[in-house]
């Protein structure tokens, strides 16, 4: 949506490193981010009007884990809060809508997850149709392999293109203190690796991590009081496609394109952070968004450098917002995705003050 009544900006961001296995409770991950945000802005807990978190109980196998997570936000005396069983990027979307109502000004948005206890491939197979695909254990990595092959068969990419995405992502991740992957294999070396979900190799699949991310968003002039260079949300929207993979054109992402059109996604971007959970998705997303060479894509390394499930999408927003805050970017696009084969896509366009 671009036609909105209130300007809202991201004024502070925080994220934990992406951990292969965090040896502690999920609320601690959240607590570290929340305390960091409060310290950065000088706000007290009671200054936050609305708290909204995205997480998934299945990751660590703890029913009502999302309720325990409230321990991390400082929820006593009781606070006004809500939860989405989705990536924190969708919590951001809901918080942004809530701020449009005009009666409150400050929202805390969180995304978090501890995937290390579980089997990601088995858990996310349950996202599929419960009658037709979940009983087969048809998992996102396998569906990603099917989508990648559709790209190859349509001559829209080669396996070398997939490897090039990984090589460049890992190179960028080397400069990101929060990334998990510390490798610098060349594309040629990567192509020597065995298949994992052919034609994808293990490195083409973003490595699942434990972690949390959070941000503070503030409406109106108050944002400028709290932050020297707020990242204004110019537009935010999401769109979804069929959950039957056979009913989609897997070589394209029309939901990404229509969400971007809705938020004025044209024009140039200094930076784009894309939720590339499988290397070939970057190729699809670049085409759907019409990104040119003048846009730096995934300077953080993106999810291929570390994928803290349920925070990964919100981290994309944070990476763009922090580049606007430090002046290295003026206008940026953040993308988050949910479901198999880029089924659902969210686009958030951020802009700094002139």
């Amino acid at each position: 949506m671009t036609d909105h009544s209130r300007d809202v900006a991201i004024v502070a961001v925080s994220q934990t490193p992406a951990y292969e296995a965090f040896a502690g409770p999920e609320p601690v991950l959240i607590m570290r981010c929340v305390n960091d945000l409060l310290a950065r802005t000088g706000l007290e807990r009671h200054d936050i009007d609305f708290t909204l978190a995205g997480s998934c109980d299945y990751l660590s196998g703890a029913p009502f884990a999302f309720v325990m997570n409230i321990d991390g936000v400082g929820a006593w005396p009781p606070v006004y809060e809500s939860h989405v069983e989705m990536d924190g990027a969708w919590a951001l979307f809901e918080a942004w809508i809530r701020l449009q109502l005009g009666d409150i000004d400050v929202a805390l948005v969180i995304g978090s997850g501890r995937s290390s206890p579980g089997n990601n491939r088995e858990i996310f197979a349950l996202q599929g149709d419960p009658y037709l695909t979940a009983p087969l254990g048809l998992d996102p990595a396998s569906l990603a392999g099917i989508q990648a092959r559709a790209l190859l068969d349509a001559d829209l990419a080669t396996e070398a293109d997939f490897a090039a995405v990984v090589e460049r992502s890992w190179k960028a991740a080397a400069d990101n203190p929060n990334a998990m992957v510390r490798r610098s294999d060349s594309a040629d070396q990567l192509l020597d690796q065995p298949y994992y979900a052919a034609p994808l190799r293990a490195h083409d699949v973003a490595p699942v991590a434990d972690g949390a991310a959070a941000l503070l968003m503030v409406a109106g002039d108050r944002a400028r009081e709290l932050c020297e260079r707020p990242a204004w949300i110019q537009g935010i929207e999401h769109r979804i496609e069929s959950h039957h993979p056979g009913f989609r054109d897997l070589t394209d992402s029309p939901s990404t394109r229509s969400a971007a059109e809705k938020v004025g996604g044209g024009g140039t971007f200094d930076v784009a952070e894309l939720m590339v959970a499988h290397s070939h998705e970057e190729i699809i997303l670049r085409r759907a968004l019409g990104l040119g060479d003048d846009t730096v894509v995934n300077p953080s390394g993106g999810p291929l450098g570390g994928h803290p499930v349920m925070a990964t999408g919100l981290v994309r927003v944070i990476e763009v917002a922090s580049r606007i805050a430090d002046g290295s970017a003026q206008r940026g696009l953040a993308h988050a995705s949910s479901g198999a084969c880029l089924q659902q896509n969210l686009i958030c366009v951020l802009q700094g003050d002139d």
Binding site: G24, G61, G74, G118, Y131, P135, P194
Partner: protein
């Protein structure tokens, strides 16, 4: 040495099929593959609605061919426990002859070298069929073999629901503070964590103070008493559900140990009757003998105290003032 946490999480779901998927699954059980008409198109798997316009479709299904063409595929070299085969196989999109959208399913091809886009495959029905998408898989066309599908299904009722048992396995070490608290229980004592910010003592410690938002560690730990006061209780009458082991009513109590500011919750009480328990009652833990203490089932969320504590005996002391316990009863 305390073992890692191994948790099996199960959710049994029973889902109604609705008219369209019900016919489809009944067809599979009876050895037929059915699709649905959508204008000039035939959709298999069938949907209740036109995927583009959301218009309801005529729920009369039509038989479709059991042969088709692979439009894309991947190779599962290392199957998980929820995959349909325990040997390598392909997941593929298969466009059945005469239909207009591909179906996602498994192809048992034997080798990745036998898979290719455009290859011809056929439905292989299983001998045992229950009305499930797993009643068949695809095979390369020349490898399909005939299955006697006549008997058994005849006269059977239409499929109207499916049972889906979700079973997920989790494995992780105990968090460090949990491991220390568990070891203390095996040694016959409770330890808690004292908040460096507020001085409040949490039993068991969570590794942090949720009110003050500070992390807590070994330096914040202390032993608390193994006697305390009932702050709340409930009598649970078991209802039957998947996994239920209880048959008779039982008591679960919250107990505020002396020296603690947070009650142990959901403590299993078996040696008292409903009329013997009340808020304010003083109880003493009676530990199992040292060699018999067992923390099987402990995880990073809950501690099965009944493995280390045999029972909770009333101490005979006067009751604590229930009014002063109100903050713990909510």
């Amino acid at each position: 040495m305390l073992p890692d946490v191994d948790l099996l999480l199960e959710y049994p779901y029973t889902r109604t099929t609705g008219p369209v998927l019900g016919q489809f699954l009944t067809g599979l059980r009876d050895g037929h593959l059915l699709g649905i008409r959508n204008g000039d198109e035939v959709l298999c798997p069938p949907l209740e609605y036109d995927p583009a316009t959301a218009q309801a479709l005529d729920s009369e299904l039509v038989e479709v061919a059991t042969e088709g063409t692979v439009t894309s595929w991947t190779w599962v070299a290392d199957p998980t426990s929820t995959h349909p085969f325990d040997h390598p196989f392909a997941f593929a999109l298969v466009l059945l002859d005469g239909t207009d959208h591909a179906m996602a399913h498994a192809v048992d091809a034997g080798s990745i070298d036998d898979m290719s886009t455009g290859m011809r495959v056929a439905v292989q029905f299983h001998e045992e069929r229950t009305g499930s998408i797993t009643d068949f898989h695809f095979v390369p066309l020349d490898r399909a073999h005939a299955v006697d599908i006549g008997a058994g299904a005849e006269g059977a009722e239409p499929v109207t629901d499916i049972v889906q048992l979700i079973a997920l396995n989790y494995h992780e070490p105990l968090h460090a503070h949990r491991a220390r608290a568990a070891q203390a229980l095996l040694d016959g004592r409770f330890i808690g964590q004292r908040s460096p910010a507020s001085g409040k003592v949490y039993v068991p410690g969570r590794g942090y103070d949720p009110l003050e938002r500070v992390e807590m560690g070994e330096d914040d730990e202390l032993t608390v008493a193994d006697r305390g006061t009932v702050t709340s209780f409930t009598v649970i009458t078991p209802v039957d559900y998947y996994g239920q082991k209880e048959t008779n009513p039982y008591i679960r109590a919250s107990i505020l140990l002396d020296g603690s500011d947070s009650p142990l919750i959901s403590v299993d009480i078996r040696n008292l009757e409903e009329e013997d328990i009340r808020v304010g009652l003083r109880l003493q833990a009676v530990w199992r003998p040292e060699g018999e203490r067992d923390l099987t089932g402990i995880d990073n969320r809950s501690v099965p105290l009944e493995g280390v504590i045999e029972r909770w005996d009333p101490t005979g002391e006067p009751d604590a003032d229930a009014n002063k316990l109100r903050e713990f009863t909510q």
